[in-house]
């Protein structure tokens, strides 16, 4: 099965992940950002401020939806109510596409609120492919799935992650969100070559890229989204850009979030790669500048608290 580049989706340019702390800045300045990605779960149940803000932003910018709760790999039944709300939000804000992760978040109706890794087996592949087909039918649009960061591998896996992701995309006809930082994180954690990973993916199915910072703990890397993109991740992005011919690119920053303009300028560095004019800016973070952290917690989901007088 072959498909048009990016499954026919437009290259939206360089976007920023919409975060609550930036609402006042965005609503006041309406900054010149190509597009925004939202965390679907922060809006699908909101009858208040978050949804009101989103509706205003969706009038002015392209919106793409990114979720953390679909649990496409779980052996629990799909949450039909969740999918119904997801589709309604996608229709309401005219979402460019809807993405989630190649993972499971819980089982036996218990939710870890984490993105837990799949074993890469034939059985898991069949399971995920079947469910992607179901979800795409319910959402009435092709699903886009992201490669997660992970911290364990399973003895029963019979193929590398990139093969699983490639076959999953081709057999289910879904799109891919390639998180270049996650490729780097998992490559370090599981001792594989991140460039080999990228070269193995079906690049005509790549709809979107993620860039992010992470926390290096010496023995492993945790996907914390709390800082700048480091040099080796830019190098991977460069290859991914070349292999795909370019796709919508988004920076995720979820902890210790700086002012909006700083987040925006971090993703704009991708222009140097896209324009192909020489070395990346001076403000790059070299891999060996990184200080090791004692402990780090990945935060896949942002939690929104109530405003009260």
């Amino acid at each position: 099965m072959s498909s048009a580049p990016r499954l026919g989706h437009a290259n939206l340019g360089l976007g920023v992940g919409l975060r609550t702390t930036h609402y006042p800045h965005i609503l006041e300045k309406w900054p010149a950002v190509d597009w925004f990605e939202i965390i679907s779960e922060n809006y699908m149940d909101s009858g208040g401020r978050p949804r009101y803000v989103l509706d205003q932003i969706a009038e002015r910018y392209p919106i793409v939806m990114h979720g953390v709760s679909m649990s496409i790999g779980s052996t629990d039944p799909l949450d039909v109510e969740y999918l119904r709300k997801l589709k309604k939000l996608a229709d309401d804000v005219n979402a460019g596409w809807v993405s989630d992760h190649v993972c499971w978040t819980g089982v036996t109706s218990k939710n870890s609120h984490d993105l837990l890794p799949m074993p890469y087996t034939e059985e898991a592949l069949r399971h995920v492919v079947d469910r992607i087909r179901t979800v795409s039918e319910v959402l009435e649009r092709p699903l886009v799935l992201e490669n997660p960061s992970s911290y364990v591998t399973f003895a029963e896996s019979t193929m590398p992650e990139w093969e699983f992701v490639r076959r999953m995309a081709e057999e289910s006809d879904c799109g891919l969100l390639v998180d270049v930082n996650n490729v780097y994180v998992s490559a370090f954690n599981h001792d594989f070559d991140p460039f080999e990973y990228l070269r193995a993916l079906p690049m005509d199915r790549v709809v979107q890229f993620h860039l992010a910072g992470h926390t290096h703990c010496g023995t492993h890397i945790v996907d914390t989204h709390d800082g700048r993109v480091i040099d080796p991740v830019w190098d991977l992005y460069k290859l991914a850009h070349e292999l795909t011919g370019g796709a919508s690119t988004l920076l995720e920053w979820d902890a210790d979030i700086p002012p909006f303009e700083e987040v925006h300028s971090e993703v704009l560095k991708a222009k140097t790669v896209i324009d192909g004019d020489g070395p990346l800016p001076e403000t790059r973070v070299a891999a060996d500048d990184v200080e090791f952290a004692e402990e780090a917690i990945p935060h896949p989901a942002a939690f929104v608290t109530a405003e009260a007088e």
């Binding site: 779960e41 208040g48 954690n189």
Partner: protein
């Protein structure tokens, strides 16, 4: 379906059940692996863990599982600390975390959204209230904690629930245009975010002080009747005198204006000539605070 009621006895299902019980075990990964319930799923001990989870060049299998296990409770505790910020302040982190940790074990998250994480926390605290406090004549420390938890959960529900920001709630002018003779038969429809709740302590004052960054002293018992709503996407709360609170409650429950006012007037200690002005003041105040969506004429 299999004999044990699980959707399937596949390898994938077994691996997921095993991993979840290991990384969410309250005593950590090794205890999780060795736990009898986990070993009934996959009978592997810590020394043979590589049969299930591989090691990396830099990290052994147990340490790798610990990345998930460390994150599980920390992530959920952080959410609860943020949602129940006043309860967290009054208890201090160590005691709050101890309560929250027990709650998460008794009632692990089931919903796809973290918004539901704290939904049963007030009930959990109530169900675990010390027996001597239940029998006490006056509200105790544990009553205060439950009141705070209830209030903060209400704030979350009102913040995320439906509101009136995009509609036109009833204004004082709308009330004035109702013909006098029609008044007794009218029913007032509350806005969807309106909640009336009674507390043993003025917990709303304490919570506001906490969110302003002050260091308030714990409140003393004082029966508190709160009307909660949302305006301009911010949760609003007002303490009402008991007579006003009860009349408002009667209207919210569907009484006609005539019924609610009649009941109030019969219990009021005000002299007769002050009844009508007081009623006008109350209704105008409610309308100004956007408590009502519409009026249903008889």
């Amino acid at each position: 379906m299999t004999a044990d009621g699980s959707p399937s006895a596949t390898d994938l299902h077994r691996l997921q059940r095993w991993m979840l019980s290991v990384v969410t075990h309250p005593s950590g990964v090794e205890a999780g692996i060795e736990d009898e319930a986990t070993r009934r799923i996959t009978d592997v001990t810590t020394d043979r863990i590589e049969e299930v989870v591989g090691r990396s060049k830099a990290l052994d299998s147990v340490s790798r599982l610990q990345v998930y296990a460390n994150a599980y409770f920390v992530r959920l505790l952080e959410c609860l600390r943020e949602e129940f910020v006043a309860l967290h302040t009054i208890l201090g982190q160590e005691t709050f975390d101890a309560f929250a940790f027990q709650y998460l074990q008794a009632d692990p998250p089931h919903s796809y959204t973290l918004g539901e994480l704290g939904a049963n926390f007030p009930r959990f605290l109530r169900e675990n209230q010390p027996a001597e406090d239940l029998a006490a004549d006056v509200p105790t420390w544990s009553h205060l904690l439950i009141d705070l938890a209830r209030l903060e959960r209400l704030y979350s529900e009102i913040f995320d629930g439906p509101g009136t920001e995009n509609g036109t709630p009833l204004r004082p002018d709308d009330l004035q245009s109702i013909p006098t003779e029609a008044w007794p038969g009218c029913r007032l429809k509350p806005v969807p975010c309106l909640r009336l709740e009674t507390f043993d302590f003025p917990v709303h004052v304490y919570r506001t002080a906490v969110t302003r960054g002050e260091e308030p002293t714990p409140p003393s018992p004082e029966l508190t009747h709160l009307v909660l709503t949302r305006r301009e996407f911010v949760v609003r709360r007002t303490a009402l005198p008991v007579d006003e609170f009860e009349m408002l409650g009667a209207l919210v429950d569907g009484a006609t204006v005539g019924e609610a006012v009649g009941r109030w007037a019969s219990q009021s200690e005000l002299p007769d000539h002050e009844l009508a002005p007081r009623i006008r003041t109350m209704f105008a105040g409610w309308a100004a605070a956007n408590y009502f969506a519409s009026v249903e004429l008889p």
